[in-house]
Subunit: 272 residues, 2 copies
Amino acid sequence: MNSQSGKTIGVFDSGFGGLTVLHALLAAHNPVSRYAFLGDSARLPYGSKSRRTIARYAVESARYLVERQNAGFLVIACNTASALALDAITAAVPVPVLGVITPGAEAAKAASRTGDVLVIATDATVQSRAYSAALAAHGLRALEKACPLLVPLVEEGWTSHPVTREIIRIYLDELLAHASSIGMKPDTLLLGCTHYPLIRPLIEQAVPAGIRVIDSAEATAAAVAARFHNRQSSEPTELRFFATDSVEKFERLGSRFLGKPTGPVTLVDLDG
Amino acid sequence: MNSQSGKTIGVFDSGFGGLTVLHALLAAHNPVSRYAFLGDSARLPYGSKSRRTIARYAVESARYLVERQNAGFLVIACNTASALALDAITAAVPVPVLGVITPGAEAAKAASRTGDVLVIATDATVQSRAYSAALAAHGLRALEKACPLLVPLVEEGWTSHPVTREIIRIYLDELLAHASSIGMKPDTLLLGCTHYPLIRPLIEQAVPAGIRVIDSAEATAAAVAARFHNRQSSEPTELRFFATDSVEKFERLGSRFLGKPTGPVTLVDLDG
């Protein structure tokens, strides 16, 4: 496998949110040092679209990373695409593909003692029931809730705003009341959207004592690091960024999610 | 012109919001009785995309309505597309095209005595400066503010929620403070997004006395009715609905914007 140690990891998202996964990949001391990130920003958000449309868009993006950027491994850093299009992507490209759902479910398995797990995510991710299925495969019971205002609040930059705190409280109160009404004893809250790490402090303050917050972005990064742990790399990290629209906006907002400036972003046209 | 009195008006939006314009068209006793509405829901929202991308999408949609649905007149019921793509659409189709910006500006001209007009809209509409330019052409001074949380709040159904009231207050306080700081005496607030009519009661309660709220959807419907006022039609109204994605969601949410059930929606594929 060492011959592949310099290969590129392709990281794909519908927009900027997946940069929190790339941030986690870089923080996880992954020996792979080359990354190509593609944000399909012309067609975001995927969260409100149908499975058929999401699969078509995600496959085009995955092919771009493999065929044009020589990615030898793909991370689908988008919960919606992982939930709705992982099979389609895996069938369409000749490289290993890892989504964020399975690592998130595995991290929940490791964290939960009661076996009852709460999940917050976008509408499309929740409707797909992908987290429920992945958690059930580990013997866990899941209750999912769509929180469609959280992504726009993060994108507005209100990541520590009282209104955001209040909306998180409303969503979590509804979710906890529902869990209680069906006899669940949740001890784990899984963040099933790549935007949510930016409001993780507010979410942690809002959950009752005894509920641990875990994050699919971190879990995915840990899974990638585990996969490549026996490789060595002395090369400096090389990051390349591609977007299907608004590279200026990507450069301006992307740093919030990545935790540092992205540098120049290259515009690509996937359907023209 | 009477020979054309039965022709179809094509109404185009990036999603559902433009149904408030169709609602206003139906309420304006327009003698034209056939409407084809296309929501480009696979690619919504346009508000966060670039001019180039918006123009390409909007032209495809406009052509569909003219070439496939025989629309003889187009209403661009989307502020973002009106702001960024009206020239491109007008050049691409052989029928008259009316956007929502010009009627909105004309209504503001009729309403304002001080000549100072506030505009709230999506980020892309504000960045286009289209309302400022259209208002300046009528001798009015404009101050625009992007309110990116209002569309998701409306789509979440929180149209009379205390959080929505609070967010409107925050946005309007910032806008009024800015207007005051530059010596403006605004007496008119123009709603430059087709989602905003659904929260118009909350907006009207939030503005100070002496500021009148006007709405581009109503203004556009009045402009269409004036254009066709000399026609007569005894035909029953015929409404046809098309969407590029999620017809179930369109049917489920569209009624909020239209004010009555849409009935069946036909899925169309514009880029496949």
